[in-house]
Amino acid sequence: MTTDAVSRSSVGHNDEMIPRYSLAERVNHWIGALAYMYLLITGLAFWSPYLYWLAAVVGGGPVARSWHPWVGLIFATSVFWTFKEWRRDMQMDESDRAWAKAIPYYIENEDDKLPPVGRFNYGQKLFFWGIFYGVILLLLSGIALWYTEALPWSLRFVRYAAILIHASVALITIGLFLIHVYMSAILEEGSLTSMIHGKVTSAWAWTFHRSWYDQVSRGSRRTQ
């Protein structure tokens, strides 16, 4: 490190807060998160007799059965809004392929050995698309389960497909959800708070999303 660099070093800039999520993005995220928690609790109650007691926690089996589809609609709306807002940021590109190859470094917390990352990394993009396509399948199969009695007997194969699709896809989203919560609330310090007050430190952005940091800091210089 040159003296010049040290003099220009960013010690003062490390803690500088830069905006990452807008208020609308954060409100939408937590609406979706609460809806998913409800769907998870009631869904698990229907999934296994050993977890049926979870239904009692949220008002009993019949109440859970009545609300689960409606809350599902809220969750789907939240996901579709996220899709509208983040679709472009979530496009896979060449750097994602390089990042995917280097994923062991990410797992072993050697983030400095990874290629620079834009606003979202490859894992976040996988999570996003998994939830997006998952919600479409859950919605379609869910409607069939919601109004089973409206499906004529001649179309019973739809019922048979729906029970299997709904449970399988729900399990995949549970896997994604667990990883998401672990990564953002426990593993990566600064992630959870960024979804609450909307800001990250410059150092956080530089460490985990360097391309995005470059873009944002260039942009802020331009606007200044």
Binding site: M1, T2, D4, A5, R8, S9, S10, V11, H13, N14, A45, F46, W47, S48, P49, Y52, A55, G61, P62, A64, R65, S66, I107, E108, N109, D111, D112, L145, T148, E149, W153, R156, R159, Y160, A161, A162, I163, L164, A167, S168, L171, I174, G175, L178, I179, Y182, I186, L187, E188, E189, G190, T201, A203, W204, W206, T207, F208, R210, Y213, S217
Partner: protein, 297 residues
Amino acid sequence: MSQASTEIIRISGHAGAVPGAGLNRESRVCKLVDTTTCIGCKACEVACLEWNGYPFSETTFDNTYQTMPETAWNYWNLIKFNEHEREDGTLMLLMRKDQCMHCADPGCLAACPADAAIVQYANGIVDFQEANCIGCGYCMTGCPFNIPKFSPKARKVFKCTLCNDRVSVGLEPACIKACPTGCLHFGTKPEMKELAETRAQQLREQSGFADAGVYDPAGVGGTHVIYVLHDAKHPELYGGLPNDPHVPLSLRLWKGPLKWLGNLAMVGGIVGMVFHYMRFGPKKEEEIKPDDDGRRQ
């Protein structure tokens, strides 16, 4: 046969044998429907409504004797009529009383997620306990006979109880009591099976129905409602009676392998994360380092 709960096995301070012990040779009950002697009078439909206290539903008219297309949440017993043209050009009016089959391996019960919403008694009756029903409708998916029906008003599912309330006090089901031709029989499963086989043999040997037989489908472990059919090779002719009914494969996959795979994956995932955190710990932000040309990266 039906009063197994009241049968006394031992009596204290009692000399000699226990009166009535061993009286119940068999606890499994069975309803036998002989379609070959049904005249389609619908007395069973009326008796069912009478006993269970449901109002007469509006009937539909489609130029046949059919009361309505299928059973309803408050109409558990329905004769299905089929004007069947045989290979020799003659006509047959096939009539089959449709109701819950009370499977030994009930798909509705396998599908149900609500604790004690469906029970199977030792006598073979599969009964819905509406107080515990959450109205999810999974039983409608699990049943291979299209029997459980959803009530939008009650938001619960209903079906034939095989008159569990009557059978438990030693009476025959209401439909049996009303049948004027004796095409409906009620007794133990082995007795009804024997009676049905005898009748089928009679039809084969004396009435020219070479394919006459008994419908007691093995795919659902046998049923506690069995039929004598003129043509046991084509049960679909009798108002869509499935030829080889099974609990749907997707239900078996869902409640079997998928359940264990899913539980393993969920628990495994959580354990894996705990180990990951213990091994690698949290990801911490680093101080910004300038790159070679002195520019902050």
